[in-house]
């Protein structure tokens, strides 16, 4: 038990760390290229400077993301060797596909980041476009591997439980990919958009109200605010699909104790076996959300065998509610921006708008983490839904808690180091002003046109 808990916590911690960097790898290229495109098209020096600075920041985050991603690849084997030994031939297919995308991304990212000085303007721009495509392709392959764990198919087992036949397309296009993959790609765009915008919002709150900051706020914020309503729609669809494919997970999320129609939607609260305490109940809403009618039957935990129910119900429920709550708040932020832009072609004057944007990045990251808690804790006790328990997958190796402690120290250093390096870069850019591109790392003398 202790080994299982240690392995799960270690996996969760390293995944939570990596997912933020992975999101930057998926979505930051699109922000950079938008700025780059504006810079080239309109001969806009500010947009160009943003593109260059963001690409230099990406050089740091991508390096950290590449190594923390490698750690996860090792952890598959180090922590879950029995899962990999038994299902690697099915689960691995998605990662083989991912290899192509990640490789191509790493190559063009290097060409783009280090090509500012010598490559011509548009040639340089186009060298960055593959990053956007491979970022999305990479997200597809990794997330479809996870959705396969939720809705496994495309393999045949023999009597001993060994995979004897696989159908790669069925593995790759398992039922859950349709909603999990877009949900994560949109999440990446939201996280990165709000995160980058929040940095410029903080700058503006500190009085740096120049055009560079305005643009640095507007480009990522617009992209994130466009992604948000789509995300709420995708997420809503996903929840309905989960209710169908993984009723235990759904019952856990919504704290449904008894199967039946006319289910109450509980907002917040503590899940107990005799109902939800201290929550805001909305009668019939849960049934309505699942099947658009209050008569929709929803499976409750009473119909799930006790040893197949997800643990930590309250955590699951609150994580889900917090994710939806943050998503809704971000939607309101987007509407505020849209309203102001429609009325006066400008961002809202209110300092509260900037304050809201300033915390939106952290909020989006929290929502991302909560979403993954829902997916992963909600699937427990299974590592492959219905086929293999997490307890059967875990290594028997000693010293996982020790490794966890070491990883904690190492990643704390990594996180602190990355933030300090990025802050130092930004301070240097500010101090050097217009001439910032000569002395800093990754800095070209000037972009050739």
């Amino acid at each position: 038990m202790s080994n299982l808990l240690a392995a799960r916590e270690l996996m969760a911690f390293t995944l939570a760390f990596h997912i933020v960097l992975a999101s930057l790898g998926v979505a930051l290229p699109a922000m950079i290229l938008t700025a780059n495109w504006l810079g080239l098209k309109r001969d806009d020096a500010d947009a160009m400077r943003l593109a260059r600075r963001w690409s230099k920041a990406m050089a740091v985050t991508f390096a950290v993301g590449a190594v923390t991603g490698t750690v996860l690849s090792f952890e598959f084997g180090l922590l879950w060797p029995h899962f990999m030994a038994r299902f690697g031939d099915a689960f691995g297919i998605a990662f083989a596909v991912e290899g192509i995308f990640f490789f191509t991304e790493a190559i063009f990212l290097a060409i783009y980041i280090y090509g500012w000085k010598r490559l011509g303007g548009w040639a340089h721009f186009w060298s960055g476009v593959p990053m956007v495509i491979t970022g999305i392709g990479g997200a597809f392959s990794v997330v479809t591997a996870n959705s396969w764990m939720n809705t496994p198919q495309g393999f045949t087992l023999d009597a001993a439980g060994k995979v004897v036949e696989t159908e790669p397309f069925k593995v790759l296009f398992n039922p859950a990919w349709v909603y999990e993959v877009p949900h994560m790609i949109l999440a990446a765009y939201m996280v990165v958009g709000f995160l980058v915008a929040s940095i410029y919002a903080v700058g503006m709150l500190r009085g740096r109200r120049d055009r560079l900051h305005r643009l640095g706020l507007l480009i990522p914020l617009t992209i994130a605010c466009v992604a948000t309503p789509i995300q709420l729609f995708v997420g809503d669809t996903a929840a309905r699909e989960v209710a169908e494919h993984q009723p235990a997970k759904f019952a856990g999320i919504e704290c449904i104790q008894e199967s039946g129609p006319e289910q109450t939607e509980y907002i917040g609260g503590i899940c107990t076996s005799d109902g939800v305490k201290a929550s805001i109940p909305i009668p019939y809403l849960d049934s309505f959300l699942v099947g658009f009618s209050k008569n929709t039957e929803v499976t409750g935990l009473n119909d799930i065998p006790a040893d197949e129910r997800p643990p930590a119900n309250t955590l699951l429920h609150l994580a889900f509610d917090a994710m939806v709550g943050i998503g809704s708040a971000l939607l309101l932020l987007g509407l505020w921006l849209a309203w102001s832009w429609w009325r006066k072609r400008d961002i809202p004057r209110s300092v509260w708008f900037l304050r809201a944007v300033a915390v939106s990045g952290a909020g989006a990251i929290l929502a991302l983490w909560f979403g993954w808690i829902v997916t992963e804790v909600g699937r427990q006790p299974w590592i492959v839904q219905g086929y293999m328990r997490t307890s059967e997958a875990v290594t028997g190796a000693q010293g996982i808690w020790f490794a966890f402690a070491a990883v904690l120290v190492l990643y704390t250093g990594l996180g602190v180091g990355a933030v300090l390096v990025l802050r130092a870069m930004s301070r240097r850019w500010r101090a050097e002003g217009e001439g910032d591109e000569s002395e800093t790392p990754y800095a070209p003398a000037e972009a050739t046109r």
């Binding site: 740091v60 991508f62 390096a63 950290v64 590449a66 190594v67 923390t68 490698t70 750690v71 690849s73 090792f74 952890e75 598959f76 084997g77 180090l78 060797p81 029995h82 990999m84 030994a85 038994r86 690697g88 031939d89 099915a90 691995g92 297919i93 990662f95 083989a96 596909v97 290899g99 192509i100 990640f102 490789f103 191509t104 790493a106 190559i107 063009f108 290097a110 060409i111 980041i113 280090y114 090509g115 000085k117 010598r118 490559l119 995979v163 004897v164 696989t166 159908e167 790669p168 290594t395 028997g396 000693q398 490794a403 070491a406 190492l410 250093g413 990355a418 300090l420 390096v421 790392p441």
Partner: protein, 333 residues
């Protein structure tokens, strides 16, 4: 050739490319570590190493991911067996990878000398330790210390002469390749001083790697008889190629020529890797798990082959472009 053998050949191809390019990047860290500790001492070689590594190290690193993915997809049982036995050196290598990548990326982005030193030390030290632990993993596999159903001894499986010597060989081979590549890079940049600085070190590393390889052969005889016996019969042509290439590099360096240096050095390393493959054949884990026993179902192997074919069409030209741009000094910070 069966599908399983083809998948194993892909695995070995990935290992070869990782050894050549990733290995050379680790070797860069090795020379960074030994470049000197004074205020200005070592600044020139470190700058050269940084310029050469910066645009390419992440792409080179992906070959490691490639190896892991092919291993767990095409040969999942072998992956499980290796991971449940050699988790100690593998976990240490993973730590080293994090420290190296972060140290390298952070070092050039901080200004203060003390920070740069700390980051540089993390980068350089882990550049030596990481390939060492990877080498112990390979040596332990060759020595037959990984049982097919896993859970071999966590320590005695790799704390043995052969795995430890293989670890040392990995470090030295990387240092050797790096020095040779950096000779060429310095020559192209017209930096005579660095050219001869790295040429001297290429020579030393080459001799040291050759000596450790000889010791390894003796250990192989003692600890991995199956592999040894095949190496000196079926693998003999490759051993001879490796030795000839190695002496070729020494000759070219001593004659103060540069032509053919890189292909010869690469040839020496590639021949060893394929010699090892031939010597293990048909085992993936000598002598408990054969390639065909470990192989995934055929549809999965087909996917691996298709993915590799796509990679050959998409990734290799892109990689070629990256190297071409980098070699023509069109990429820089």
């Amino acid at each position: 050739m069966s599908r399983a053998d083809a998948a194993a050949a892909i695995l070995w191809t990935g290992a070869t490319l990782y050894a050549l390019f990733g290995g050379a990047d680790f070797g860069g860290g090795f020379w960074d570590l030994l470049a000197g500790f004074g205020e200005h001492k070592g600044a020139a070689p470190r700058a050269r190493i940084q310029r050469s590594l910066t645009p390419v190290w992440e792409a080179n690193h992906v070959w490691l991911i490639f190896i892991l993915v092919v291993l767990w997809t095409a040969f999942p049982e072998a992956f499980g067996a290796i991971m449940t036995t050699l988790y100690v050196p593998i976990a240490l290598a993973a730590f080293g990878i994090v420290l190296r990548g972060a140290g390298f990326a952070f070092r050039k982005s901080v200004q203060r000398l003390s920070y740069r030193r700390a980051m540089g030390a993390a980068f350089a030290l882990s550049s030596v330790l990481t390939p060492f632990f990877m080498g112990t993993v390979v040596g332990a596999i060759a020595a037959g210390n990984v049982p097919a159903d896993g859970n071999g001894d966590a320590f005695s499986s790799w704390i043995q002469p052969l795995p430890l010597l293989t670890g040392a060989l990995f470090v030295l081979a990387g240092a050797y390749l790096a020095a040779v590549f950096l000779v060429a890079d310095s020559a192209r940049a017209g930096d005579k001083e660095m050219e001869s600085w790295f040429a001297t070190r290429a020579l030393l590393a080459g001799v040291a790697a050759g000596a450790v390889a000889m010791l390894g052969l003796i250990a192989l005889h003692g600890e991995a008889r199956y592999v040894y016996d095949r190496l000196i019969v079926e693998g003999l042509p490759l051993v001879i190629v490796s030795i000839l290439c190695g002496f070729g590099v020494l000759g070219v360096l001593l004659a103060r020529r540069r032509r053919g240096l890189r292909p010869l050095a690469a040839g020496a390393v590639v021949a060893v890797i394929w010699g090892w493959g031939v010597a293990q054949f048909p085992y993936l884990l000598p002598t408990s798990l054969r390639i065909d026993q470990a192989a995934a179902p055929s549809a999965t192997l087909d996917s691996v082959l298709v993915v590799f074919a796509i990679a050959a069409i998409v990734v290799l030209p892109a990689l070629g472009l990256l190297y071409w741009l980098s070699q023509r000094e069109l990429l820089g910070e």
